[in-house]
Structure formats: C-alpha cells, structure tokens
C-alpha cells in the first residue's frame, strides 16, 4: 500500500454494525431494513462464465451472501444415455463439456473398453494422449482470455482466443470438427494423423510459446491485475478435502493431486512431466500455475510428437456395434481435464443399453459450494474474476 492510503486509512474502522448478524453460521438478512440489496448476476450477464447465475446480497458493494443457481443448461444427458446404445452415446457425451470435449470422449470409451475387455493398440494410445493434451491447451488459452477479460483487459482475449482457433484448425484436420470431434471411439481413434500434421503441430507450438511470452509480459506484470488478483478467493489447504477441490485449484493450495501422475492412464507414464504445485491459494497463484501448465502441455505435445510411432494399427477390432452387448459390471474412469479430475462412472447390466452413466465434472463443487464460500466478503466487481479464476464450466455441473 502506498503512503497516502496508509495515512488516510490509518484510523479507519469498518462499521461492523452494518453487517448482518450471524445465527447458526448463517447471516440473518432483513431486506426490509434497506441496508441490503439483493441482485442477480446472470444468466443474462456478460461477466458470467457460461449460462449460470449468482443470487447475491450486497451491503454497499460488498457481498454478504451468495447463492449459485444452475440448471439453465440441463439436457438430461444421463437419462438420454439410458435410451441410447453404447455406440450412439458417443455423439452425446462429447457435448457435456463444451470447451473441452475430448476428456469426456476418452473417459467414456475407456470405460466401455474396460467393461468389454478390449485392449487398444499402441499407436491409438499415443494419438489419444496427443488429443487430450491438445484439448487442454485449447481450453487453457480460452481461460486466460476470460480471466483477463473479466478484469477489463480485453486484448489478451483477442490474442489467445484467436490462437486457440489455430489449435481448433488442427483438430479439424484430424477429426473434421472444430468444437466437437467424436474422434476417440471405443477400440482406438477414428482416423490416422494426416500427412505433414506433425510439422504443422510443431510450428504451432513455437507460435503459441511466443504468444505466451507476450501474455506473461502484459498480464502477469500488470500492476492492476496483480493488485486485483492477489488475495482474491483464497483456498486454504484445509478446504481442499472438505469441499472436494481438484485440479489447479487444489494444486494452487499445495495439494499434490494430478490424475495424470497419481494414476497414469494412456501413455502418461512414459512421458516426462512433473507435478506443478504452488502455495498461496489465491487467484493470482492459480493464474500463474495455469500459465506454467500451459507450458507443460506444450512441452508434452512436443514429446508426444517425437514419440508417436509411424506405423501401426489405430483401431482394435470391436464387435458389431448395433447389437453390442457389454458384460455386466461397473467402473469409474477418471482423467485430468483443465479443471481437474473428470470422471465417468458407467454401470452396465449386460444389455445393449447402459444402466447408468454418471459424469463427475470438477466444476460441480467449484462452482457451487466453493464459489458460494469464497464470494462472501469480496467486492461485486471482483466476482466475475473470482468465477473465472476457479475455472467454472456450467455445462458439466448440470449435464
């Protein structure tokens, strides 16, 4: 704090009488007293990530109570999957999470393969790993644009979202779709990598590295960004278990939990990656951690491109998909998305249709319990920044 503000606020005492009284851990808010204002942020609001809303009670511009409302994107996926055959489910599962559909595809197909006992070929495993890492970097690029945009720095979004577009072009090359790929199917992947793909991908990695160094100079060294993000939304290490926090949010508080390393899937045990953690737990730490993870993803992509074998099968033999019956059983497959542990719990009863498919997204707790807790005592102008710094994604909450 500068000298002027110190002298000005030296004798300043917050008027705690204005604050609501606490009873049984809940604030008692009397709206008729005209001390508080109740407003809705969202669903029609530019500062909300996706289509969700916060019902907040304000005292001045300080939030005293917050409640998340979700369900604006509920499509009943789990009910629809009960009516679809296993192979028909693949068009549906990728639509659960819009910015990062590949994790869903991988988890669902890995669950189907495990239950039916299919082993996929080596090359398919490598391509799947590449695909997952590419979707991670694309999602991170969009996130950092949102984080800067929520604090009024629109230029970062202009740069990174257009860079993400070039990654989407690569996806289009291998799968034919920009957003939804439906590339990972049971037994492997749909198509081989096209000719010259590796060179183009390496080129793009270099380009993205260059962009990221620009982002570091403008975003992480900006004094306004620093002063607004530091100390915002602190997640303490005790909260991590209590609230089921995963991913970069947990790692920013010093918890060593990364699914890629704790329980390596696909080819992650053959790659060189180390656990990135930080202490501090505030929004700025999380932003820095995610920035490092972007570099880690780019590093992994170069490693994978070097290691992908040229020849080999990309698809294992699977039975006739129209009458495909999967033996009874249940399993839980998890993978690391940008937001953390992303899991699919699939229960089969031996028929053509799954009995139950449940998708556990990381935002499920981040956007409801955690956000409601962290939003209290912050300013309303920081709420959008806090929401983005938790990297909430509404479609995976309500499915």
């Amino acid at each position: 704090m500068s000298k002027i503000s110190e002298s000005k606020y030296k004798n300043f005492k917050a008027d705690r009488e204005k604050f609501p009284k606490m009873e049984n851990g809940k604030p008692v808010i009397d709206l008729d007293s005209h001390k508080f204002t109740k407003i809705w942020q969202g669903p029609q609001h530019p500062g909300v990530t996706g289509n969700m809303s916060m019902e907040i009670t304000l005292n001045g511009d300080e939030i005293v109570d917050a409640k998340t409302h979700v369900g604006y994107l509920h499509r009943g996926f789990e009910k629809l999957l009960e009516r679809r055959k296993y192979i028909q489910g693949f068009t549906i599962v990728c639509r659960i999470c819009v910015p990062e559909p590949d994790t869903n595809e991988y988890c669902y197909s890995a669950a189907v393969e495990e239950l039916s006992g299919i082993e996929i070929p080596e090359k398919a495993k490598w391509i799947r790993t590449l695909n997952l890492e590419m979707s991670r970097i694309a999602s991170f690029l969009m996130w950092i644009g949102g984080q800067a945009g929520s604090l009024g720095m629109g230029i970062i979004g202009q740069w990174t979202v257009s860079m993400r577009d070039f990654w989407l072009d690569l996806f289009e090359e291998i799968s034919g779709g920009r957003i939804y790929h439906m590339y990972i199917i049971p037994g492997g992947v749909r198509k081989d990598l096209p000719k010259g793909f590796k060179d183009r991908a390496r080129n793009l990695v270099t380009k993205t590295r260059k962009l990221l160094s620009d982002v570091e100079r403008t975003f992480f060294n900006n004094s306004i960004i620093k002063s607004r993000l530091k100390g915002l939304g602190i997640i303490t290490p005790e909260m991590v278990d209590e609230y089921g926090i995963v991913g970069p949010n947990a790692r920013g508080s010093g918890k060593e939990y990364d699914v890629r390393q704790n329980t390596p899937y696909l080819k992650y045990n053959e790659l060189d990656l180390n656990m990135l953690t930080a202490t501090g737990g505030d929004a700025y730490t999380r932003a820095e951690l995610r920035y490092q993870e972007m570099h880690q993803s780019l590093d992994l992509i170069t490693q994978i491109l070097d290691k992908i074998p040229e020849d080999g099968d990309i698809q294992a033999k699977i039975p006739n998909v129209i009458n495909w019956k999967i033996p009874a059983g249940q399993t839980y497959i998890k993978a690391e998305s940008t937001r953390g542990e992303h899991g699919f719990y699939v229960v089969s009863d031996g028929s053509k249709f799954p009995r139950r498919v449940f998708n556990r997204g990381a935002s499920y707790t981040h956007a409801i319990s955690v956000l409601e807790k962290l939003a209290v005592n912050t300013s309303i102008s920081d709420l959008a920044g806090l929401m983005v710094s938790l990297h909430t994604c509404p479609p995976e909450i309500e499915r």
Partner: protein
C-alpha cells in the same frame, strides 16, 4: 379483436402492476404491445439500411452455440468489421442470438429478455436443436421448436455452426432487413395470445407478469 374481448383477456392475464398500490401503479406500463407500421416508405428504407449495418447482439449465451461467438468476436473472424457488436443489456441490443438448445429454465429467461428488447428486434437461432430438437429430441428438459415461443428470422443449421456460417447468417439477415422482410416483432404482437399459450404450456411455474416492458 374488439375492445371488450381484449379487456376480458387482460383480466385473466397477470399484469406487471397487479397488486400494487395506486401510486406505484403508474411505475409500470400495463398496455398491450401494439403493431408498429412504418410512417413513410422512403424514410423506412433509409432506416432499414441503417438498422442492417449496425446489428447489436445481446450477450446472452443461452447454449453451447455461444462458444463459437467467442472466435467470431476476436481477431481471426472479427465481426466488428460487419458492424456487429455485443451489448450487455437487452435494452441496448436488437439481435438475439439463441445459441442452441433452450432448456425449460432458459426459455423463461429467453422470453423475458426478448420482451425487454426494444424494437425493431431480430432473432437468429443457431444449431439443429433449435430447429427440431436435434439430438435432444427426446429430452425432458429441452424444447424442440423455438419458433413456437418467439418468432425467428434466421436459422443457422449445424452442430455447432462454424463462424463462417454465422457470418453468412448475419449477411442473410442484413439482406432480409434491407428488403423489409424481418417482421418478427409485429408477428409476435399479432399472435400474442398464441405465443403466450405455448409459453405457458412448457413453463409450469409462471410467476412473472405476462408482459413486462
């Protein structure tokens, strides 16, 4: 419709100022929406040209279609060069982009946002799920046809529609506006009771005024 009939219908309707004191009643309008007819043919032509070249869209990402609006807004596709800009509130915007499927909770907000928008207003619906339900045709929580609840000017098919097709859709909308074919607002007013009946059929807990502008 004669005057008596309208009054009878209004009695059944829930008005914005219902239950308020006489003093507060004047704060909210309870007039039915009216059809707007152009005053002058030549002036209207000029106005249509002006409207078509500055389309301000409402920043309400109602579904997954909103994800392709981001690339459209940023440097690569850059919709600002077509005179299209996102606006934060319904009061300032004239194009409503319905981004894909609308769940029951969202359709309620869509109706409210649409009614709050000032005329002339246009609607673009993205994705196959707004046309006939798409892959969510049997879902219990998404509507199948958006044009039964609000009037639609342009449909852009696909799942997701690419940014290029979005630009093509906006171009088509411009052509239609210039040719004076986008009359969705008047259509909504003329078939007001039909639209309300449809909306009330899916929105089970109707706890808002029937029209609120």
């Amino acid at each position: 419709m004669d005057k008596k009939n309208i009054k009878e219908i209004e009695k059944e309707m829930k008005l914005a100022n219902k239950g308020l004191s006489e003093k507060e009643k004047t704060l909210f309008s309870d007039a039915r929406p009216k059809t707007v007819r152009p005053l002058n043919k030549y002036l209207e032509k000029f106005l249509n040209w002006a409207r078509a070249e500055s389309l301000w869209i409402l920043g309400f990402g109602t579904g997954c279609g909103a994800i392709e609006l981001r690339p459209l807004m940023t440097a690569r596709y850059d919709m600002f060069r077509y005179g299209i800009a996102p606006r934060p509130t319904p009061r300032q915007s004239c194009v409503f982009v319905i981004g894909g499927y609308a769940s029951m909770k969202t359709i309620k907000r869509i109706v409210r946002s649409y009614e709050q928008m000032q005329g002339p207003k246009f609607v673009i619906a993205l994705g196959s799920c707004t046309i006939n339900g798409g892959m969510y045709y049997d879902s219990y929580n998404t509507i199948n046809r958006i044009d039964h609840y609000i009037p639609v000017d342009i449909y852009i098919a696909g799942c997701m529609p690419r940014p290029e097709s979005l630009i093509a859709g906006f171009d088509k909308l411009k052509e239609k506006i210039k040719a004076n074919e986008c009359d969705g607002m008047n259509k909504y007013v003329e078939n007001f009771d039909w639209y309300k009946k449809n909306q009330k059929r899916v929105i089970k807990d109707w706890n808002m005024p029937d029209y609120n502008w």
